[in-house]
Amino acid sequence: MSLLMLRRAGVYLFLSIAAFLSVFPFYWMAVGATNKSTEIVTGRMSPGDYLFTNFQSLLAQVDLLRIFGNSFFIAIVSTILTLAVSSLAGYGFEIFRSRVRERIFQLLLLLLSIPFAALMVPLFVMISRAQLTNTFTAVILPTIASIFIVFYFRQATKAFPGELRDAARVDGLKEWQIFLFVYLPTMRSTYAAATIIVFMGAWNNYLWPLIVLQTADNKTITLVISTLTAAYTPDYGVILLTTVLATLPTLVIFFVLQRQFVQGMLGAVK
């Protein structure tokens, strides 16, 4: 066997292990959703016939439609508002020159390094003083001005041709019209990538909703999964089924926007 083949075999082995480590949890989750809790605990790895029973058990415990409704509402509204506000800010930072622009931007980037745990308490105090606790507004509001998304859009805007903006100005468009009718459609792959990032973040958000959402009818899917695990004898079949259901929306969005996501990550303007 030549050295080249040996090296190639090594690479394949490494990639196979990496692929297994990535895919196995998903396989285990999907298979677990079809098995009885006791079978999961004893290490059964093949699909079972308990899916329907698990589903019935889940429906008996939670108002699934309402919980999904809550999660979707928060994730969708949060995504739309975050993209609107943060892309506008990123565009503004890149397009309009000012003496303090870079200083303000550096300050924003510095704020990125502050962990959420440090902001949690003051944020909760603010929200409760505004009498917003246990509302969806309380969950959505702090996520709208996302520094990371502002940064992402500013970087992407560097690839937005300045002459397009000039052409639009000559064509009689006002600044907001340029943003809406020229920038936004031109940068749609950037928006697609940002949609996935923001939607996933909002959908999977756990800590902040846990703090501000207090009644059961306001809970999101992530909070429900956590409640299920906290039972005295957790039913792993039900938990894994809920996890599968909670994974589906982000999976669907990712596959729908996959091509634009890759383009957006590469910063392509076509």
Binding site: P161, E163, L173, V182
Partner: protein
């Protein structure tokens, strides 16, 4: 169609002044080309006319109205950009009608005007394509079409052909000339390519460092440059410059000693004030104005370094004994090559003289 007037136009970025007082009158239906090296301010000046750059001081009038603070879309101009600047998410038809849509022109009127512009530019089969499905030349035609649809008083072109290959550039140059004839509008065209300037312009404006060096008809600039910069910039290959010193002057002529020829002497007629003996001058001779040996009043011996044979003519890059490089245009040059020696003569009637500051002596 409108005339334009620029009076004392200046542009500064902080302390840096890039346009240093431009005065220029452009007649209605005139094709004016701004030409100059990179960074001379020609594009900035065009953008100031378009309203894309603020005018620091001075007055810009289009059709007799002061336009300094008027929105770009209300100046009666349309602009064609170097990178075409077509909206990538719109078809050719939508790109061309976009400005009219925002001017609240009725839909059927937009369709009519787009169709008309498409016919002029032979774009009809491409109307439903997207910019990414077009070649460079087609994109540029769409960009021009978009400008035509707005029915402007003044067309502004910012280096529109520099992204095209050589063959297409020649083709589009002819298209633009034809278009000017057909539309009878005022055109201001920016380029760094003096061949484009010479072939298209009614009037060329040569700029350097934010200042107009000379304005005139193409052949005027070629035959009668105001200074050494214009003489060197207009004409391709550029004019040859040789160091010379005045040995005698009087009776409407000046006698020069050529430094590169070990003091060979040449007498050049001048109608203006004569320089004093001893003064250092620059002698300019265009590549096509060197004659065969003995035909002029002084012969120069050269050794050919590189020969470019273009078929009908050849350019010989040759060195003098002192290592100065001169470019000679020859129509029988195919017989000479690198390493050959050559002798050419300078005809005083085709010699240009410039003083130490680069100003022309006539």
């Amino acid at each position: 169609m409108s005339s334009l007037s620029l009076k004392g136009i200046r542009k500064s970025y902080g302390h840096l002044e890039v346009i240093k007082g431009v005065d220029l009158d452009i007649q209605s239906k005139e094709f004016v080309v701004f030409v100059g090296p990179s960074g001379c301010g020609k594009s900035t000046l065009l953008r100031m006319i378009a309203g894309l750059e603020h005018i620091t001081s001075g007055d810009l009038e289009i059709g007799g109205t002061r336009m300094n603070d008027v929105e770009p879309s209300r100046r009666g101009i349309a602009m064609v950009f170097q990178t075409y600047a077509l909206y990538p998410h719109m078809t050719v038809r939508e790109n061309m009608g976009f400005a009219l849509r925002f001017a609240r022109v009725p839909r059927d009127e937009i369709a009519r005007q787009v169709q008309q512009a498409a016919r002029i530019l032979a774009l009809e089969p491409l109307l439903d394509r997207y910019p990414k499905e077009l070649s460079g030349g087609q994109r540029q035609r769409v960009a021009i079409g978009r400008a035509i649809v707005r029915n402007p008083e003044v067309f502004l072109f910012d280096e529109p052909l520099s992204n095209l290959d050589a063959e297409l550039r020649v083709h589009m140059r002819i298209e633009i000339a034809r278009l000017h004839k057909e539309l009878q509008t005022t055109i201001i065209y920016v380029t760094h390519d003096q061949v484009e300037a010479m072939t298209l312009a009614d009037k060329i404006v040569v700029l350097r460092d934010g200042v107009i060096e000379q304005t005139g008809k193409p052949l005027e600039l070629y035959e009668d440059p105001a200074n050494q910069f214009v003489a060197g910039f207009i004409g391709s290959p550029k004019m040859n410059f040789m160091a010379a010193a005045v040995t005698a002057s009087g009776n409407g002529s000046v006698t020069l000693s050529l430094a590169n020829q070990g003091g060979a002497s040449l007498s050049v007629p001048l109608s203006g004030p004569l320089p004093a003996p001893g003064e250092k001058l620059v002698l300019g001779v265009r590549p096509e104005h060197f004659g065969p040996p003995g035909a002029g009043s002084v012969d120069i011996a050269l050794e050919i370094d590189v020969a470019e044979h273009l078929g009908s003519i050849s350019y010989l890059y040759a060195n003098t004994a002192r290592g100065e490089q001169l470019v000679i245009e020859r129509d029988e040059g195919a017989r000479t090559g690198a390493g050959d020696t050559l002798s050419v003569s300078i005809d005083p009637a085709h010699a240009y003289l410039f003083d130490g500051a680069g100003q022309r002596l006539r």
